[in-house]
């Protein structure tokens, strides 16, 4: 993997975070006034790399505990606690790294408390990384520690770095392509390197998705209607911000564009059941049912197909809501006529609307009635249409 191969080894390798490098140097100079430092910021901004680079610069051994380890009181004491006291056998110095501290969960019982104790006792610097350090439970940790915020890396820094890597890897890629790639990374240098790797394997740079971009409705429809049902289909509808009601309308509109016969029926049956769960959620405010609605809309429609479908299918925009709206506009006349009739004849507007076919006949048959009801020209035209 390119992102491993070109991991920064020293401070000079760290691109786009010059401020942070200066700050960590100051921290080391003042050690042990503060014994721990928190590096926080979005993914791929170089937090862990900065810690490793520091260890390298100090010629220190790095002792790490991260989210993949159990981090309760016992483990914290065993791994970090013991290392923080004794001298290392091979190196003069040690750096203790608590990676992704915001990943400490309820299962890591007492881990955070133990960390606070260790900070007081340690004779080596403790580096802590986190995406988000502003949770209340980290307040004591923030007080004890120096804080460095790692900002998104500027796309120009990312561009320079991947251009450098591309050159070393002897890839022929245009500057233009690399710039697009750098912009699409949205400040995440690791993502940029991962994406760079995929173009070496012969992809077009335009096909690289922007990082964190949500799935469009057409992607969703293609995955549901055309792909062989995937294992991650249940998460499909979580990856978009499009409202489930809107997705329902798109699916409803397009089922007959793709499916025939048994497939058509199975798909509509799933849609029908999803609709029932939707009403149950509304009626009972029991949100667990959302899981089932979600499953029926994604997997339910997807498994209706007998085989996958390659190629381009033209998905059409839902029109039902529009049609309803147009008719409603026309019904304005129906309503206004019903209203006039209702007041005149001592009945409710509702009753008049219900009996409109009769009422219409009666009004059309006699001009005097039209005058009597004070109908407008538009209303009379609507009746005669």
């Amino acid at each position: 993997m390119l992102c491993d191969k070109y991991k920064p080894l020293c401070f000079a390798d760290i691109k786009g975070q010059e401020d942070s490098v200066i700050k960590i140097k100051v921290f080391m100079k003042n050690f042990p006034i503060k014994k721990s430092i928190i590096l926080h910021g979005p993914a791929g901004t170089g937090k862990t790399s900065l810690a490793y680079a520091l260890a390298k610069e100090m010629n220190a051994e790095i002792i790490e505990i991260n989210a993949s380890d159990l981090r309760d009181r016992e483990q914290m004491k065993k791994i970090i606690g013991s290392a923080s006291q004794q001298g290392s056998l091979f190196a003069k110095n040690k750096v203790l790294l608590i990676d992704e501290v915001d990943g400490i969960t309820k299962d890591d019982r007492g881990g955070l408390m133990e960390l606070l104790i260790l900070i007081d006792k340690t004779s080596f610097p403790i580096i802590i990384t986190a995406n988000d350090i502003w949770n209340k439970k980290f307040a004591p940790l923030r007080q004890k520690s120096e804080l460095i915020e790692m900002k998104d890396i500027d796309y120009r820094d990312i561009f320079n770095l991947i251009k450098d890597v591309a050159k070393k890897e002897q890839m022929n890629s245009s500057d233009e392509a690399l710039k697009i790639l750098a912009i699409k990374a949205n400040g995440d240098i690791r993502a940029a390197l991962n994406d760079l790797q995929t173009i070496t394997e012969g992809t077009n740079v335009d096909s690289i998705d922007e990082r964190d971009r949500e799935l469009s409705i057409f992607n969703i429809l293609r995955i549901i209607f055309q792909d062989i049902t995937r294992n991650d289909i249940l998460e499909l509808l979580d990856k978009t911000n499009i409202d489930l009601d809107e997705i329902t309308l798109w699916i409803e509109e397009n089922i007959p564009n793709v499916y025939k016969k048994e497939e058509l029926y199975d798909a509509f049956n799933a849609l029908s059941k999803a609709d029932i769960f939707n009403k149950r959620i509304i009626r009972q405010q029991y949100w667990r049912f959302l899981t089932y609605r979600n499953m029926l809309l994604s997997a339910g429609i997807s498994v209706a197909k007998k085989q996958g479908r390659l190629g381009f299918i033209k998905y059409t925009k839902p029109t039902r809501i529009l049609k309803i709206w147009i008719i409603k506009q026309k019904n304005i006349y129906k309503k206004s006529i019903s209203q006039k009739y209702a007041y005149h004849c001592h009945i409710s507007i509702k009753t008049a609307m219900k009996e409109f076919p009769f009422i219409k006949q009666i009004i059309i048959s006699n001009d005097k009635i039209q005058k009597e009801l004070k109908l407008e020209q538009d209303e009379i035209l609507y009746l005669k249409e």
Binding site: R280, H346, I349
Partner: protein, 320 residues
């Protein structure tokens, strides 16, 4: 000025012209003569003379000036009780004209009011009882809360029987110089189900087509009002043409503004008129029942109807 709409033109002007409600008429007449009128609750099916009774009552009370002393509100249209209260207040603020010391407010279809609105109405009735009388009408007395029932004298209107409807219709036919055959008269009664207003409307619609009223003509008129196109929708689906079936169905539902439940009722009836094997008819009807259940349970009735059409496509085994 006389109206050209027959339900208005032939609306009763006196107690004697209200047919089929002899008991109620007798009681209201006595109350009117004594000028001591309580709040009234007129209960009974549609088209039996409740609104007519309210209008005759105020005409008897106030004579020529009846419109100045009478406010008519329809509870199923005046949604919020706030509107009702505001209108009632404005109306009740001024004194009545003439010898009668109160005005009359007619609140039609009072059973359409929500329970909360009824509670508010109950206070309003008390607050304005010094210079207002309320006449309420409803189809179902059980939908009104007890405190309102207890504040009113309840007058029950019975469903009009055949001879009452015939009396009304024959009188109109004579004045309008329409030829009315006995089977035409019978058909009018059958179709209106005791609803006199509906019978008069049907008579006027039929007259606009022919001045001789026969059973056949009435049947054609009634047939027109029904969504016969459902048959075409089902045939599209059975032939495998799902998209045409659903477009046509949506078209019918929107243009005629019929609900999903009304459509499903029609489908259930139409299935037996289809040109298919009875075994299939049974299967389709069973599925129709299942979908009717889902419409009641679900939120989007059109999606449910589409599921049913997809089943028709499947069973029809039509072309690809």
């Amino acid at each position: 000025m006389s109206s050209e709409v027959w339900t208005e033109k032939y609306r009763p002007h006196t107690f004697e012209e209200i047919f089929g409600q002899e008991e109620v008429v007798k009681r209201v007449k006595n109350l009117t003569n004594s000028l001591n009128i309580p709040h009234l609750l007129l209960a009974g099916p549609a088209g039996t003379g409740k609104s007519s009774m309210a209008i005759v009552l105020v005409k008897e009370l106030y004579g020529e000036k009846w419109k100045d002393n009478y406010l008519e509100l329809n509870a199923s249209d005046e949604r919020g009780i706030d509107v009702v209260r505001q209108k009632v207040k404005d109306f009740a603020r001024t004194k009545s004209f003439g010898k009668v010391p109160f005005k009359v407010i007619f609140l039609d279809e009072a059973d359409a009011l929500t329970k909360e609105a009824q509670q508010a109405l109950r206070r309003t009735m008390e607050n304005f009882s010094s210079n207002c009388r309320f006449v309420l009408s409803c189809n179902y007395i059980s939908k009104l809360i007890d405190p309102i029932q207890s504040r009113c004298v309840v007058l029950r209107f019975r469903l009009l029987d055949k001879k009452d409807v015939e009396k009304v219709i024959t009188r109109i036919a004579e004045q309008e110089k329409i030829e009315l055959t006995p089977d035409g008269l019978n058909e009018l009664y059958e179709a209106c189900e005791g609803d006199c207003r509906r019978a008069i409307n049907l008579l006027q619609v039929t007259t606009s087509v022919s001045r001789k009223i026969t059973k056949e003509i009435i049947e054609t008129i009634l047939g027109k009002a029904k969504p016969k196109d459902i048959h075409a929708v089902l045939n599209y689906a059975l032939a495998g043409n799902f998209k045409s079936a659903r477009d046509k169905l949506l078209d019918i539902m929107l243009k005629e503004s019929i609900s999903g439940i009304d459509v499903i009722k029609n489908i259930q009836k139409e299935v037996w008129n289809l040109d298919i094997d009875p075994v299939l008819k049974v299967r389709l009807t069973e599925k129709t029942g299942e979908i009717e259940f889902r419409i009641v349970e679900g939120s989007d009735e059109f999606i449910q109807l589409e599921a049913l059409l997809a089943y028709f496509v499947l069973v029809g085994k039509g072309k690809e």
